[in-house]
């Protein structure tokens, strides 16, 4: 009688090198203050954008970043602005603000004005800053993962030492092209960090309703890409993970996946009533894990007073109000702009 085939493969042998468990970033007081300011700017900016949307000044789709601020701020603070590139999906306002891009041109893009960063032709989902090596701002779920792999290909091809940070959500993590990209990125050892911003809901579908493997950091295993799960509500954890990931990638060891466990307080977009989760669930995250409150407590522990923070907050409100006023008043694009920039050259 023939031997019965083995029912199970051998358990995986941990023969592959993996990045070390990241350590929380040890921030100086100035760095902490800086994180706080950036996150608060994103929060206030997004709240204002939500307001302007309600007033009809912003149209179409508008995806707010409220609740997820620590991810963009923590990760991008670790990048080398001269070399590294960033690409993301349509929830992109926070990533732009984290680069220190003028809130006025971002808000003016949201209101569709000529002074917007895309001259009013892109809108909320399509903003770019090649100066900062920020490559958008993409509206098709998952497309930015292949495009980001292409940016990483470019870094390697040009040998410029850069790393690409490609953000995508837990929803995009189920797109086929993500895995096509994982395969090529590891095959060619491309310098890329795949950042899954797991905010628990792909529009209205929770991760475990859509994902057979809901521990998304493991999604690279069959491509031999290591993954790290990170507390995306803690900016220091985010920064620490970014440093570990960057060290791995810069050493030529190929891509790495960071799963940032985070949460969005608002609906998927402005038109989403978010009936798929309870008010209590959202409130509980706000109360227990808010990324800004977390840093506020750390700052207070370092002797920063409530009054100091108040001044800072007032400054930020001023900046955001100025951006909103600008975005409301600055003119719409000239009608002739309709036909410009379809092509670069004339034929």
């Amino acid at each position: 009688m023939a031997k019965a085939p083995r029912a199970f493969a051998d358990p995986p042998i941990p023969n592959r090198e993996r990045p070390a468990e990241p350590k929380p970033f040890e921030a100086t007081k100035e760095q902490l203050l800086d994180f706080y300011k950036q996150m608060l700017l994103i929060r206030r900016f997004e709240e204002k954008a939500g307001q302007l949307y309600g007033l009809g000044l912003i149209g179409g789709f508008c995806h707010l970043y409220i609740g997820q601020e620590a991810v963009a701020v923590g990760l991008q603070s670790a990048l080398d602005g001269d070399k590294d590139s960033v690409i993301t999906g349509y929830r992109d306002h926070g990533h732009m603000l984290a680069y220190g891009i003028d809130p006025k041109v971002i808000m003016a893009e949201l209101t569709g004005r000529a002074a917007g960063i895309s001259k009013g032709k892109g809108g909320s989902m399509h903003m770019f800053s090649t100066e900062h090596k920020f490559f958008g701002g993409h509206g098709i779920v998952g497309a930015q993962v292949s495009l980001g792999t292409g940016l990483a290909f470019g870094h390697k091809y040009s040998n410029d030492g850069g790393v690409c940070l490609a953000y995508f959500g837990d929803g995009a993590a189920n797109q086929g092209q993500v895995y096509e990209s994982f395969n090529m990125a590891e095959l060619w050892k491309l310098p890329i960090i795949f950042v899954i911003e797991n905010n628990q809901y792909a529009m209205g579908t929770s991760v475990n309703r859509a994902s057979s493997e809901d521990q998304l950091y493991r999604r690279g295993e069959s491509f031999r890409i290591p993954g790290i799960q990170v507390d995306g509500m803690d900016v220091l954890a985010c920064r620490g993970a970014a440093e570990e990931a960057l060290a791995w990638v810069r050493a030529g060891k190929g891509p790495v996946i960071l799963e940032m466990k985070t949460y969005r307080y608002r609906g998927h977009s402005m038109s989403d009533p978010a009936k798929y989760r309870s008010r209590e669930e959202v409130q509980s995250v706000r109360d227990k894990s808010d990324p800004i409150d977390h840093v506020k407590k750390l700052l207070e522990a370092q002797g920063v007073t409530e009054a100091d923070l108040k001044v800072l907050e007032q400054d930020i409100r001023k900046t955001v109000n100025a951006a909103a006023d600008f975005a409301e008043q600055t003119p719409e694009p000239d009608a002739a702009e309709l036909y410009t920039e379809v092509l670069v050259e004339r034929y």
């Binding site: 895309s118 770019f128 098709i140 292949s146 990483a152 470019g154 040009s158 920039e341 670069v344």
Partner: protein, 474 residues
Amino acid sequence: MAIEIKMPALSPTMEEGTLAKWLVKEGDSVKSGDIMAEIETDKATMEFEAVDEGVIAKILVAEGTDNVKVGTAIAVLAEEGEDASAVTETRSGEDANAAPKNQATDTASPPMPEGAAAAEQESGTQQLVAAAEAHAPATPEIPEGTEMVKLTVREALRDAMAEEMRADDRVFVMGEEVAQYQGAYKVTQGLLDEFGDRRVIDTPITEYGFAGVGTGAAMGGLRPIIEFMTFNFAMQAIDHIINSAAKTNYMSGGQMRCPIVFRGPNGAASRVGAQHSQNYGPWYASVPGLIVIAPYDAADAKGLLKAAIRSEDPVVFLENELMYGRSFDVPKLDDFVLPIGKARIMREGKDVTIVSYSIGVGVALEAAETLAGEGIDAEVIDLRTLRPLDTATVLKSLAKTNRMVVVEEGWPTCSIASELTAVVMEQGFDDLDAPVLRVANEDVPLPYAANLEKLALIDSAKVVKTVKKVCYKG
């Protein structure tokens, strides 16, 4: 009964090949599966196996013979028990006829599968190819007195890429089988040897992924050439071509560019069925933000591909597999670049304008020859670029001839022909003496059966008939 061993067709488009090497000699016994010879096609060197058992009675075509037509008897096999020498004697009188050099001259005739008469098996794509052979008119952009070299479309495309890669380190080629395999259709032959694996990159079979990788690389400042094994497979990647590449410049207010070339064979190939036979020209040509080029001959293939690679805009470059092996004159110039968006008058005429592009141009030219014999003087225009369309050249010709027929190897519905018809209604109505008519493929998925394929595709007879109609002579 002796068996004639015939030159085999080793690819759907092969019409002739080189008998590179005999691995058996007269008197050898062979059995099914034995490798008898090595045959070089335009794409690869292939081994040729025996099907029947027997003794090689006579080798009719010596090794090293070029241009052996498919279907030519290359050896005679005596079956077991048969007298090999007797077989040789009865066959020897035919040797002169089987000499490959004589056979090679008639290049326009279709491949002849073993044991079948050509007429019975002639398929639709062969009529397209046959039409393409006969005509090679002058290109207006080439200075007079320029030395011309005969090149296949395949070689011209390869030379275009190689020249641009030599000139600009940002240019690289990526796709399935482009490097080590030397190209599924051998278009990238030799590039790996010259440029190495940094710039000639084999991908996994992952069109969506590598189209995105190429597009991202272009956004980051490189100049990728993305080869699709055929444009049928680009359907998996069309999101990146349209949503990522074509719209980037506009969406970013001119901030971010995407200088990329997506290229590969498009349109009907030979007997490959519906999923591998489609013309995507009209699809891409409907998208603002893209340049769409569909060259006909080798000179255009070279000059326009070089222009595409240099363009700051994303380009869809539609080649045609049936044309890859066709030879045309190509100017011997250091840097032969053609303008994008300029049609070419292939043949001047005064009675009717026939507009076409890609492989349809050959069909149009063949029809024009026939029509000339019947007293109708047709002007033939090759559009070359499908977006932006050179409507000025078309309208100018129409103003002269007052009649127009559009010939398109593709479906009629929502086609380039539909678009041109609309353009003429809007801008050339007063010049029309007859309605604009279309000669396009039948509005069905392309069938496999040879007779049905032939019925589905355009041919010059259909064009002749339609032209006579618009000339009120049919």
